[in-house]
């Protein structure tokens, strides 16, 4: 059982690497969807005897619906509607961003056990996985040129925050988590609209063109 839990965390990090290295937008969206679905497993796997059953179930189902289905579907719809080219076009190349990602993951795994966290006793891989996923998301947001790829980076960053939230799952009321999920949903919605407008204005989603605006 412990090995399968390990496997979920390892797969989450491997998906981080995959998104960093993939040049196809559709493949990256699918990877983010798979990551969201994997994250929905976490509250179930890590639930202990004393955790509230409805709370855990709500969290898992909510994460699956929002992260695994709704948002990826919206992203796929946006890429189709805006007729976005399939390539990702990074500012930092794929190989350097993979190496940077690997360095961040190595640091996260090396130093996560040093962090003075008030909640011990949860799974050992939880904190390093969360930190490396946040790092990957950050890297994607700053190093990709296309708005869609940046939104993907934001989603991965939020996935990392969610993993960290599982650590605090016992203290967090359901309403707070529902609020976070709703926030995320709204944020992606707004980003979708913004993306659509950028695309209509410039007939491209290259955010570099936004900084060239002059009055």
């Amino acid at each position: 059982m412990a090995r399968w839990t390990d496997m979920v965390f390892v797969l989450v990090v491997v998906l981080d690497f995959f998104v960093l290295a993939s040049s196809r937008l559709q493949a990256a969206i699918r990877a983010v969807a798979a990551q969201g679905a994997l994250l929905a497993l976490l509250p179930l796997i890590l639930a202990t005897g004393e955790s509230d059953v409805t709370h855990v179930a709500l969290l898992a189902v909510g994460a699956l619906l929002v992260k695994g289905v709704a948002i990826p579907w919206m992203m796929a719809w946006a890429t189709r509607e805006a007729a976005i080219r399939r390539e990702v076009e990074p500012i930092v190349g794929f190989v350097p961003s993979l190496v940077l990602g690997a360095a961040g993951v190595a640091l996260a795994f090396a130093f996560a056990s040093e962090l003075p966290l008030p909640t011990g006793g949860k799974h050992m891989l939880l904190v390093p996985t969360s930190l490396s996923t946040v790092w990957t998301g950050l890297l994607l947001v700053v190093s990709r040129r296309k708005a869609v790829a940046q939104v993907l980076g934001f989603l991965i960053l939020e996935n990392g925050v969610f993993v960290f939230g599982v650590l605090l799952g016992d203290f967090m009321p359901v309403m707070v988590e529902a609020g976070v999920l709703l926030d995320l949903f709204a944020a992606v919605f707004v980003m979708g609209i913004v993306m659509f407008h950028i695309n209509r204005e410039f007939s491209s989603l290259d955010t570099g063109k936004l900084s060239a605006l002059k009055d």
Binding site: M7, V10, F17, V105
Partner: protein
């Protein structure tokens, strides 16, 4: 001892059959009947019966290339444990010798290609060495992961009894290492996502370019050496993946042979399902394999 010798015999005899299986799987997946399974043996016999042609610009390096290449790969086979019995030759740290014997074979193949003085072969040699230099870190990291997980420093112990316990305690890390090793095996043996062994088109060739000027027995040595190398890398992947305990040495050996057939089928399926990657994307894939094995190492060291 008997089983060790039998394993050596299998290593020397079976590799062309492995290529035959790969080709057959590719044909069946493509809707063709394909060449007979034993076709690589017939090719080798045909080539051995021919005479060799040497260009006047070449020196002894060109003639030494295929012989040294084959000898180095065959020596590397002595260090490898094929399941059931330990390898014939084994000492602490022999995995370094294993990796560099393969490196020596590549070095002389590239040197022989440069010796022909053809710019085309020089280009092929440059590509081969570039990709090999990216595949080598991944190979070493995988071997280090194995050494760390089993606590042994010789190949036959790293792939021996200790592996079953290592799978139980560090399964995810070993799975990542096996995946990375499979990618390295495809790259090192110039199989499809990296290089297409069937084409003779100028722009796509990597390994095939370097051996264009070899003929007759020399070419037979090169083909045989290449199949030995595929067998060696396949053996690494299969031994790592079949890391559980078997009731006896003979069952372990039988399971290993079945695993090798499975490996050949897998390679054939990958080649049928995937297109060759663009040349600029190949380093990305190899760095990805290195990153996976770094991650496996991080999981172990934590």
């Amino acid at each position: 001892m008997l089983l060790s010798l039998l394993q050596l015999a299998a290593f020397l005899i079976l590799p062309p059959l492995l290529l035959g299986i790969v080709n057959r799987v590719k044909s069946v997946a493509g809707g063709r009947t394909g060449p007979p399974l034993l076709q690589p043996y017939l090719d080798l016999r045909r080539l051995l019966a021919k005479g060799a042609v040497y260009s006047r610009t070449t020196t002894w390096v060109f003639r030494a290339g295929p012989v040294i290449g084959l000898a180095a790969v065959a020596t590397a086979g002595l260090l490898m444990a094929f399941g059931g019995a330990p390898s014939l030759l084994s000492f602490t740290g022999d995995f370094v010798l294993f990796a560099y014997l393969l490196g020596l074979a590549r070095f002389f193949t590239a040197l022989a290609a440069l010796d022909t003085g053809s710019s085309f072969e020089g280009m092929g040699a440059a590509r081969e060495v570039t990709f090999a230099s990216l595949a080598e870190p991944a190979l070493f990291l995988c071997l280090v992961v194995l050494a760390r997980a089993t606590g042994a420093l010789s190949l036959s112990q790293m792939l021996g009894e200790g592996l079953a316990g290592a799978w139980r305690s560090d399964g995810p890390a070993l799975l990542l290492a096996a995946l990375a090793l499979f990618v390295v095996a495809l790259a090192e043996n110039s199989r499809i996502p990296v290089d297409d062994p069937n084409t003779h088109l100028e722009l796509t060739m990597i390994h095939e370019v370097m051996v264009l000027d070899h003929s007759g027995p020399d070419f037979a040595f090169i083909l045989y050496g290449a199949s030995l190398k595929l067998f060696l890398f396949g053996a690494l992947v299969v031994r790592l993946a079949l890391g559980f305990r078997f009731p006896g040495p003979w069952t372990a050996f039988a399971a290993f042979l079945a695993g090798m057939a499975g490996f050949a089928v897998l390679v054939g399926l990958v080649e049928s399902a995937m297109a060759r990657l663009r040349l600029s994307r190949v380093p990305q894939m190899l760095v990805g394999a290195s990153v996976l094995s770094v991650f496996a190492l991080v999981l172990l060291l934590r």
